[in-house]
Symmetry: C2
Subunit: 394 residues, 2 copies
């Protein structure tokens, strides 16, 4: 132990690393294991986007950009959101660029929460909301949504907002949902907005998967409650640009002015040439997104069909690239035990519900951002273990 | 005002943006003003580094890297620090890559400080230490160093460590110093280390300018107190890579394990291709640094000579690319007033001491990361205004 080890606060020392990472490190390098844990496109970034980055580098865009992001990228974001989602933000004062959507999430939670404040998180949910809340010394309260869709209802929302009162600073709404792949209908969004309207709480509206939707377009709650919503997105998922680290926050200019200070204190700015690449993706990337979405949709259908045949039950996926699958009733053990069981016996790595909630949900997440051949092989293996398990219970 | 404007905590709402940024925005776009405010190399990133980034992109290094940074970059950092500074860190457990040195600074302060803890900052200092401390709800306490060199002494250090006791979690040591350009001799570092040794406090050892030194090599305090020091650096200054956003923290593995969680929660990871570029700069960039350093040194000498002739007094610069200049005694007004005076009357933009300290220091910072011709013209203008001012006081 180093001399200054005692300086690390207890809550940080005991903070668990993301279970996704742990499993990924445990099974991701085993060539025998098919790894369906990662939440990132298996596609490469499109050539014209790569070319835009190369041009940027050749043009020596290697100096500090504006702290809010280059004005050209902010313009591209503004135009993209207007044309794709009918969302209208002023590129000068209502949009700033963050280090991936992760940077947006941490900035909002860090900026708006003080110790002991409450962040409401419909669970299951991506871990980063909870981790940032807890590191801030604030309380991450799970909204306990129900099977099969695990969507927050107006009633659940109202009860929590009443119960925690003015301690609630932020509510997270992420749809399409990681990890369930479900999303909210227009009517559901309207009903939630009607509740929100009565309360002084910020909505962290994380729509990073909004372009990967296999149903009708969804209604961003930012459209209904622009004054109360911090819209979060980025190019990682729709443009297969996870490694470039470009996301953004849009919202009321007065709030953004404050949040930009938090982001600036944390990292100064994001990288210049990466912003130029993201700009190209937003301006000319629709065809790439369409191509990738078609592939994801094919895999989604394949996977649903295969899981149906095996006998697994799951939440019907409508967006993103995840399938949320129920653990067979007669398996003895929690979701982590089942994940280890599948990895060891079937050589298929998935993410257990424990990565997304503190509740003892008997589910796991399959990422189908993987090749169809991997998915085929994986489901064959799952079929075998499922059958063997069922036989052993008899 | 937006509906949720009241959710922004008071300390964030009232947090002032960096004065450097404010002045840069105010005068940076006026073509008549020579802008000597910015702390970034005017050089472009070297071609071989740009080429490494392009290769990385062409090789589709566009996916998530390891959260601690690519292992190849961590190896390059380890080897660079060993060969350049005789510092020895294990790339697997004692180094992680951050979003610029800014990301390193915010991660250390966020990770180790709780509300009301104390961070000791020898002033004048780069603003980011104070801003991050205050956003965390902790207290930024200035160590009031004295003219002409503004270096922290063992006595000053001991007094503060005794006075604030166990509330002190971090002490910032940044040398060569931004904004004074001074640095610490080997004996001075040893004397400070002797004091530190007695206390359980982390040293944030920010040596981002260590390669831009115009005297003998300096002794990193990390070499003397590896168990107590978090060594911070990056490629922004020595390789002219500000826009790429790659920095790093080195230190005891147990502390780094905790700090990496903070950085991961904040931004997940830095960008993959940017790390590949930084790796090239560390492995093969010495010749570029030498070339730029020679140019900075020429400008430094020119500037000292010109300021001597004019009659300005300054701290003798030994590193970085800043000159710390005394405001003439008979100027009526504070450092900000003098900065505005120079910008308006002489059309030369500099940064007043107020950007680096809450003390009423009558100094300003000139950045000589500017072309020699700009510096020539700027000093001619300064000579005129200096003379006119002196005449007007008679």
């Amino acid at each position: 132990m180093s001399k200054i080890a005692s300086l690390v606060p207890e809550n940080l020392k005991s903070a668990k690393p993301s279970l996704i990472r742990v499993l990924n490190n445990k099974y991701g390098h085993d060539p025998e294991v098919i790894n369906l844990t990662v939440g990132e496109p298996d596609f490469k970034t499109a050539d014209h986007v790569k070319l835009a980055a190369i041009k940027s580098i050749l043009n020596d865009h290697t100096h500090y950009p504006h702290n809010w992001g280059t004005s050209t990228l902010r313009n591209a974001i503004s135009q993209y959101l207007a044309s794709h989602f009918d969302l209208h933000y002023d590129p000068e004062s209502e949009i700033f660029v963050t280090e991936g959507a992760s940077g947006a999430i941490s900035t909002i939670i860090d900026g708006l929460c003080q110790p002991d404040d409450v962040v409401l998180i419909p669970s299951p949910a991506y871990t980063l909301y909870r981790i940032n809340t807890e590191l801030r010394g604030a309380r991450a309260v799970e909204l306990e949504t129900s099977a099969p869709d695990f969507k927050v209802t107006p009633q659940l929302l109202r009860e929590a907002l009443v119960k925690y009162g003015s301690a609630v600073k932020v509510l997270v709404l992420n749809y399409p949902v990681n990890p369930t792949g479900a999303t909210y209908t227009v009517d559901e969004v309207r009903a939630l907005a009607a509740v929100f309207k009565e309360f002084n709480v910020a909505i962290l509206d994380d729509e990073i998967y909004a372009d990967l939707l296999y149903t009708d377009k969804q209604l961003p709650i930012a459209k209904l409650l622009p004054d109360q919503t911090l819209y979060v997105s980025g190019v990682s998922k729709n443009a297969a640009m996870t490694g470039w680290r470009i996301g953004y926050i849009c919202g009321p200019s007065d709030i953004l002015k404050s949040l930009a200070k938090v982001h600036q204190a944390a990292i100064s700015t994001t990288a210049t040439m990466n912003m130029d690449a993201a700009e190209e993706a937003l301006r000319h990337g629709d065809i790439d997104t369409a191509r990738m979405k078609a592939a994801y949709d094919q895999r989604r259908k394949f996977l649903m069909n295969a899981m149906d045949k095996i006998g697994f039950r799951y939440t019907k996926p409508q967006g993103a690239f995840y399938l949320w699958v129920q653990i067979p009733d007669n398996f003895v053990g929690d979701s982590l035990a089942y994940a280890n069981h599948l990895a060891e016996k079937a050589k298929v790595a998935i993410v257990p519900a424990a990565a997304f909630t503190n509740r003892p949900l008997r589910y796991f997440r399959i990422s189908y951002a993987a090749s169809l051949s991997d998915l085929k092989q994986a489901t064959e293996r799952l079929a075998k273990i499922f059958k063997a398990d069922q036989a052993s219970y008899k």
